[in-house]
Amino acid sequence: MARTHADEAFADFVRLASPSLMRTAWLLTGDRDSAADLVQAALLKALQARRRIPEQDALAYTRRILINENIDRWRRRHGEVATGAAFDVPSPDSLADRVADRDRVARMLATLTPEQRRIVVLRYHDDLSVAQVADLLGMTEGAVRASCHRALQSLRAHYPTPIGDVWSPTAEGERP
């Protein structure tokens, strides 16, 4: 079917936004198929609302949809349109190392509560501020900080404690 100008713009947006959305989705779900599915669902919803989304905010809007879609258990799980495929990009490093690394991170994130996981991903992967995360998730900044703090507490076990640095529970997340 012939594409309109708006369709072309959307196709461009899909190309540019998908990698970033895919990374966020993978960190939220820990598996590629679910992540790919989530990305497609978010993009489809963004497409349905494209006239209402300011172009410069499209990625932020779509990320927000993706997070809600992930939270959202309303949607039916059958009859989904297969519109994408996730894959590993060949890299100079050993693919096996990468996969092992990814598994470790996936297992680590899986130990968090869903809320903690969302916050950690948005804060430390998507580099959003506490205020932005609070806005996105509909929480107070205090609640985001507290949840983030608890997440870091529990993730600490996965990292070796460096010599001479004892992480202070009160300083986490607040130091510049």
Partner: protein, 372 residues
Amino acid sequence: MTELEHLLRDDLRRATADLAIEVDADALLAAHRAATRRRVAAGVALAATGLALGAVAWGALGGGTIPGVPRPQQPDPLTTPSAPALPTPTPSGAGSASPTPRPSGSPSAAPTAAPGPATSAPSGRGVTPVAPAGTASVAVYFVDGSNTDHQGDPLLTRETRFVPKGTPVRGALEALLAGPSDAGLRGLWPRGVRVLGIAQAGGVITVDLSGEARDASVGAAAEVAMVQSLVWTVTSAYDQPDARVRLLIEGRPAGDAWGHMVWDAPIAREAALDTLTPVIVDTPLPGATVGSPVVVTGEAAAFEATLEWRVIRAGVEVARGTAMTSEGQRFAPFRFTVDLPAGSYVLTVAPTDPSGGAAGPIPTAGRSFTVR
């Protein structure tokens, strides 16, 4: 950032560095077009039932027709001598428009009682308006003509009907089979189906319908909605939300009567979030004449429990506000009041859109009423 935070950030970056996805934009565009066609088709079919007023007022808010606008009174094709299903009356008089909280026993007509937010678990019955003498109010489930799920599949909403007090379940079932009185809703059961029997034992409700029930031909998704409309209607009339329903046709299990699903064992309600339209307005009743302040009640599943409402008069917004359901992300009751001068109004209620408008069409419930 602490060292831990740096390590974490590096890990998250490294773990996702090589992850890629190839999204077929054309497939998304095609899926979007297909969904749009379905919505348009549904809108056209409804417009054909005739309701220019609804279409005009609604057009300003984003398409579709307004549920809650009473269709011109039609003779009920299914009045059996034992228990005729009455069409929804237009309530008038002081007591009739005052909702009372559902859990208390017999409906009280005290207009001064200010009902608090209904906090009981949703039973599917909604807030019961005061029923005219000799009748009981029941919730009857039909397809919401204005909202679909994100795949374009039908969702159910409910209509309050007044049926003979002695046989509320039969009354609710016959009202279901006869179809909605509200022009914004659609019934899926074929015409001419009679209720042969209703029985209830040990959490299983058995419904026996006449052979015309086999005549339904509605497609797979609508068939699920058709079956669920019966399940929700009878379980709510019995006030047994967890009961299962067995369907017999002429005394035999319905089986695969309609070609898509098999109904040979009792089935329960599907999850409300998958089945019901996200916002259901119970009161004011469609076309009701009520006093001010107008008490608006219903049930909604809203992200963060927030709803936005608007009141429109002759195409112009005259009031707006927000309301909370008692709990977010699941079906929960809501209640708010609006002070309005005498006149005719259309009310719309919609969940606050967490994506700021990015997540597609916003499901909206509409209701027309008059303030005396």
